[in-house]
Symmetry: none
Subunit: 204 residues, 2 copies
DNA sequence: TTGAAAGTTCTCTAAAAGTTCTCTATTATG
DNA sequence: CATAATAGAGAACTTTTAGAGAACTTTCAA
């Protein structure tokens, strides 16, 4: 556990290395911390080394290396802006970040891999992953996982009709909506997210 | 068994750690509890430690650790199976898990929010997020972020032609592919992922 | 080779934080 | 009503943290 100034020191060292691509002198660290004593800096540096964050090469000038710590599995990416055909990328101020777990995670969720093109016009293609939130409650227009006669599962737009029947509507002009008695349909969950990877296995 | 104020103290400590990612000083706990005496706080803290909820490092400033740290925000969801219209969900054996960060994360990536329907037939709709891997290299058929004349940015299928020109092909039958001299087109990155959230603001 | 600059090891100081007390209320509880 | 448990204040003390700087050794480049 590093003290406040030790953490400051670690930050200064890292900043320095990223900017200069070599390690700082003790005096340079001291300047970065706004203090005078290189003896004090040396004490901090040794504490950081003991914590395993850097490696020291004793005696040498600039004798330290970063021990790349566990690459803290981050889950957010910068949201750079909006892209619309025919316009420059509209930058979003304040360097927004988008967090994948916030985007998709939640209780009682699971993922299904989609096979087939029945929802293609809703932008859900063969091979896509859909994130499902478990639950029976769904509103008209939600995309749901519906179980028919406790046998067939299907991914469709949901529509409750006035006569208590249920229409499952595919998003594919080649397929037709079908209406069922409510008793035959069990909603297993609603689609809360969708994702697709374009990374081919070959190209890493 | 903790008394009321001891439980309060535990809560204050946990809140502090989640917000600051380091432990509080006794005085900071006291402020959180609305009391003055750090001696009293110390008594509470020791009681919490005796109950096994925190670990104390005697003497040290901020010398305490949670024994049951909050389960680090997981980023994986169970992949239950494949869903194809008209068939039962095909269960995947071995309870596979899909990790969002593995799916999307990587170096030099960023996110853009798509505006417009130019890639609608590729399942990329207005409002979707696309994950871009920065880089000039792209193969035919990749979806790329292309900068035209250093001005317009656009999301299109890429096609290198034999005569060294470049065709950018939208995925929308209402739009036509356009061919440019290679010098006018700069590839800024290729689409490696796409995601969409169906969670309306209202229904959480 | 040599000397300035850099690293290392100390000791010292002061402020801040942790630790241990005692004292005083207040509130349950048998 | 006596007693114990809870809650808080605060004094006194110890230890850690933060920094300065001297003295010494080593590195490194001219």
């Amino acid at each position: 556990m590093l003290s406040r100034r030790e953490q400051d020191t670690y930050q200064v060292v890292r900043d320095f290395i990223t900017h200069h691509s070599h390690a700082p002198l003790l005096n340079e660290i001291a300047a970065g911390l706004g203090i005078q004593s290189k003896g004090t800096v040396h004490r901090y540096v040794r504490a950081i080394a003991r914590a395993g964050l850097i490696e020291l090469i004793p005696g040498r000038h600039r004798g330290m290396r970063l021990c790349h710590p566990p690459p803290a599995e981050s889950t957010s990416l910068p949201l750079l802006g909006r892209i619309a055909a025919g316009q420059p990328i509209e930058a979003i101020p304040d360097q927004e970040e988008i967090d994948l777990s916030e985007f998709f995670m939640g209780p009682n969720r699971f993922v299904l891999k989609v096979q087939g093109d029945s929802m293609i016009d809703a932008g859900i293609l063969d091979g896509d992953m859909v994130i499902i939130k478990q639950g029976q409650r769904a509103d008209n227009g939600d995309i749901v996982v519906a179980l028919l006669d406790n046998e067939e599962a299907t991914l469709k737009y949901l529509q409750h009709n006035r006569d208590d029947s249920i229409t499952l509507r595919p998003a594919n002009t080649a397929l037709r909506p079908i209406t069922y008695a409510a008793s035959r349909v069990r909603i297993q969950g609603i689609v809360v997210g969708q994702m697709r990877s374009y990374q081919s296995v070959s190209s890493r």
